[in-house]
Amino acid sequence: MFTFNDFLFLLQGVPNTLAISFLSFALGFGLGIPTAIVKQFPKYGLNYVADAYIKLMRGIPVLVFMLLFHFGMAGIVPLFKSAFLSATFALGFRSGAFQSQIFRGAMNSVGRNQMMAAVSLGMTRWQAFRHVILPQAFIVALPGLGSEIALLIKDSSYAFVLGVLELTKYSDIVRKATRSFFFPYLAAAIIYILITFPIANYLDRMGSRLKSRYGLR
């Protein structure tokens, strides 16, 4: 029998799910912005590094990365002895590639005349980028970032395979204890929706509101 107490027990997985998702999002943000910038301002061949990085992350399943980090590389990188960190870094690296694409699209949507206007005031291309293009690109990127967070929350469930005590792992524990195959997973599914929906929705609406205030498309 799956009881309300089992449901409360299951909730204990939520903190780890959130922690993996938000830390990997932050890591992805930190990687995504420079990657987008390097592609926008090709210099020292760094844009090829960025290209390779994006292609790699697109082509390799994130679960394979997690397994590789935790079981394959813990000897070389002590950080990866932790299943939690292996999962977070695997998701964060992939998110960096995805977020760089979101920012690239957003930067390109800002328009050449904004850059030209900034340069006409005497700004360097970098100053123009920093003060004019980037702030507008952030706003345009908000809905895309919302989808990215939702994706990370869902894919954090792969960490289950490494034994991280997150929501999916907890639902599996409850399944074993209660012998109920349906309700523990159903409860997990509902909790995932309750977490992802408001966050993605909030960023979406904030994006639309700011876009209409600033007349951005």
Partner: protein, 249 residues
């Protein structure tokens, strides 16, 4: 022409895009305090000429002189020169994430490195000059086209440039909104701001221009004081263009 100091000049200026020669050799100069107006048919190269004089694009051939110095062959700081040449664009080009005040302040802060307080005071002063001090806190999307263009003028003016280039600043505006922008520009001309203006507002040209330049197919084929050029164009092309402009408008 007077004895004033030449601020901006070009010699044998040419520009090519792919196989297309858009500018075919332009000699031009403007002295401090002058207002010159460029007219000419669509596609004749007016915007291209202005962008190149604003140092926003390099020429394919020829030279540009700022205060007598060859811009592209001396080791002048192009960004500092651009700060001394204001530019007002045809299409809306205000920074959309900043208020009117923020738009005017940004160049002061980032380029001229003014302190916040000083930049704010200067920006408000210039917004007042274009009669928009009450709109300082509005975003571009909340302003009319005419107001946006006036903020654009204020943004250029705030930098205290030696010259301001205007590329058809009223072309995308309704007639009622055209006046408020033209009025501001007339006022600047009277105050002695050096201006190079692409416009087909002949009333403006008549009232404040020292000279009108007629551009056709990448060349300036005729120039002269407004009364002369408008009443008595020497070239067939200018005659045709003006009769169409006055008849059609």
């Amino acid at each position: 022409m007077g004895m004033g100091e030449v601020i901006l000049a070009s010699r044998g200026l040419k520009k090519r895009y792919g196989d297309l020669w858009v500018l075919k050799g332009i000699d031009f100069e403007i002295e401090r305090g002058q207002t010159k107006v460029i007219i000419g048919p669509s596609g004749s190269g007016k915007s291209t000429f202005l962008r190149i004089m604003g140092l926003l694009e390099p020429p394919t051939e020829g030279k540009i002189f700022f205060e007598g110095k060859d811009v592209y062959s001396s080791n002048l700081d192009l960004n500092m020169l651009r700060a001394k040449i204001g530019f007002v664009f045809q299409e809306p080009s205000l920074f959309r994430h900043l208020t009117a005040l923020g738009n005017v302040k940004l160049g002061l802060r980032v380029v001229l490195k003014m302190k916040e307080e000083e930049a704010r005071r200067r920006a408000l002063e210039v917004l007042k000059a274009v009669k928009l001090e009450d709109w300082a806190d509005h975003y571009p999307a909340q302003l009319s086209g005419g107001q946006q263009q006036r903020v654009g003028i204020a943004r250029a003016l705030a930098m205290n440039p030696d010259i301001i280039l205007f590329d058809e600043p009223t072309a995308s505006l309704d007639i009622e909104l055209t006046w408020e922008v033209i009025d501001v520009m007339k006022e600047l001309a009277r105050r002695g701001v050096t201006m190079l203006v692409v416009t087909h507002e002949l009333g403006f040209a008549k009232e404040v221009a020292d000279e009108i330049l007629f551009m056709d197919d990448g060349r300036i084929i005729e120039s002269g004081p407004p009364e002369e050029l408008l009443r008595n164009p020497k070239t067939q092309r200018a005659r045709e263009f003006l009769s169409r402009l006055i008849g059609g408008a």
